[in-house]
């Protein structure tokens, strides 16, 4: 399964990143690229709970392909969400179900952001995605 183009780009930049500062800068840059959510999309039904920050995840399927939108009020989390979306955007259901997202963040050198003890919300978002993958 080949990586989407944007995911390849993300991987290349994070693989080159040296040190936490550069990774943090990259995360903020990716966060700025996240497509903003409309106010109508920032509703309770789209909230992902279990995070200290406000996180929204909008998931839709068109013609067997997944389309996601996500945002947060926290900046670095927006970066993590952006990196998540470039990996899953446009995947067919079967591909999405078989995807190991933990592995993706490990490749990026961001696996520590996934720990359940961290309340940054990425863990909760991945749980929600796993539910979606099973339910549809």
């Amino acid at each position: 399964m080949s990586l989407p183009v944007q995911a390849q780009e993300a991987l290349a930049s994070f693989e080159q990143a040296r040190g936490w500062e550069q990774r943090a800068r990259l995360l903020m840059q990716w966060g700025d690229r996240l497509e903003p959510l409309s106010e109508a999309e920032k509703v309770e039904g789209n909230r992902v709970h279990g995070c200290e920050s406000l996180v929204w995840l909008v998931a839709e399927q068109h013609a067997g392909q997944w389309h996601f939108k996500a945002s947060s009020d926290a900046r670095l989390l927006r970066g993590l969400l952006a990196l998540l979306l470039v990996r899953v955007q446009g995947l067919a259901s079967a591909e999405f179900t078989g995807l190991d997202l933990r592995e993706w963040f490990t490749q990026l050198g961001l696996e520590r952001q996934l720990s359940p003890s961290r309340s940054n919300g990425l863990h909760a978002v991945l749980l929600r995605m796993a539910e979606l993958a099973v339910s549809r």
Binding site: W20, A24, S53, A74, S119
Partner: protein, 401 residues
């Protein structure tokens, strides 16, 4: 000027954390442990574990002796008149739940329970749920701008319908000492039972139960440099008698038949099942260690580090400290910066602080905040720990801004 901690080397984990480039500033959540505690646990497990209060054999006798000696040490630490006033639980949370269930029968619909707006969930939810079960009114005492219970309003709100007052001694978010003496005196004059949540307060200074004059006082061992899984409920003898038994099982029973049973009084009647024996023995060893320290030197060290923390925060632009902290900790937010982002930056730099709602969601909501960063101190911290925190904070903010 460098301010060392004379007790730092007594806590082996601090050096281990330092080797992992971690600066531990989250002692209000849980503390690192003194070598004396580690030795006591190791001694107990290496020399023969046994159940307490049950067996005639020698290991059982020794374990029971050590277990009961810890009860004496806790009683001495709190200056309780009698060791029988000390009930071991599994934590402050379970002690507060014991009270909420053990006293439930005394409440009738329309009665009032008073708590404060700054309570930790552990001293809010057991009372909230009791109020819902029994159709009681939960009265929330408001705070003043410093983050202390507003005494004037509290004395109005605590009245003849108030059957119980449950308040924290030291806020885990605001670091403020609560005005307990007038609150407790007033509540007792109204005929209310009084419960003090000492989870944070017990860690700073010695508190004399006979002077404090509350009916019940609870704390957890792990915040007082002891093992987790152990809590303490202190009660005046007359009010311990009011408690109904709530958890049933081994060793809390006097006589048991298939259809009925009679139960022991406090403390053993409230220690159903095998207690955390090693943990209780470990808490005893921790108290021996703490009692061996120069209390004045500890207090001076903690106060001076706390001042250093407050000064450093005040020196930085855009930082808003929650309330007016008096001891142990400070929580803050930064204008225009999400606390999750600060937490991220500090974590990346090996600074262990707490971010979020600190198990006090209604308090944070009342302050109009989603969360805050909390820096909290233990007696092993030194001024270099704070220096590293401030450097990491500056570095993180520079990246974020």
């Amino acid at each position: 000027m460098f301010q060392p901690s004379p007790w730092r080397a007594d806590f082996p984990a601090i050096a281990a954390l330092q080797r992992q480039h971690q600066t531990y500033l989250d002692s209000a959540a849980t503390t690192q442990k003194p070598q004396a505690l580690v030795d006591a646990l190791s001694h107990y497990y290496c020399h023969g574990a046994a159940n307490v209060h049950r067996a005639q054999h020698l290991p059982g006798a020794l374990a029971t002796q050590a277990f009961e000696a810890s009860r004496d040490k806790v009683a001495a630490w709190l200056n309780a008149a009698d060791s029988r006033q000390i009930v071991f639980t599994h934590g402050a949370t379970s002690a507060l739940n014991l009270l909420a269930y053990g006293l439930e029968y005394r409440f009738e619909a329309g009665d009032e329970i008073a708590i404060s707006a700054l309570e930790h969930h552990a001293n809010l939810l057991p009372w909230q749920q009791l109020a819902r079960r029994r159709d009681l009114r939960l009265v929330v005492l408001p705070l003043d701008e410093h983050g202390r219970i507003d005494l004037e309003q509290a004395l109005q709100l605590i009245g003849p319908r108030t059957r119980l007052l449950a308040v924290s001694q030291l806020s885990n978010v605001l670091g403020t000492w609560q005005p307990l003496p007038p609150l407790l005196a007033h509540a007792r004059a109204q005929g209310a039972l009084t419960v003090v949540d000492g989870a944070q307060g017990v860690v700073h200074g010695r508190h004399d139960m006979q002077q404090l004059g509350c009916d019940f006082y609870v704390f957890s061992s792990h915040k007082l440099y002891g093992p987790e899984g152990v809590g303490v409920l202190y009660g005046r003898p007359q009010v311990l008698e009011l408690l109904r038994h709530w958890q049933f099982g081994g060793e809390m029973v006097q006589l048991a038949d298939y259809q009925s049973a009679s139960f022991r009084p406090a403390p053993l009647g409230f220690e159903a099942g095998t207690p955390p024996i090693a943990g209780v023995i470990g808490l005893g060893a921790t108290l021996d260690y703490l009692a061996s320290l120069d209390a004045h030197a500890v207090a001076t060290h903690e106060a001076s580090l706390h001042q250093h923390l407050l000064r450093g925060l005040a020196d930085r632009e855009g930082i808003r400290i929650l309330g007016t902290p008096q001891a142990a900790l400070a929580s803050f937010v930064i204008d225009g910066v999400h606390n999750a982002d600060i937490a991220h930056m500090l974590t990346e730099q090996g600074i262990a602080v707490r971010a979020g709602h600190h198990c006090a969601m209604p308090l944070l909501k009342g302050l109009g905040l989603e969360g805050a960063i909390r820096v909290s101190l233990g007696l092993y911290n030194d001024s270099d720990d704070l220096q590293r925190f401030f450097e990491a904070l500056d570095q993180g903010l520079e990246l974020l801004r």
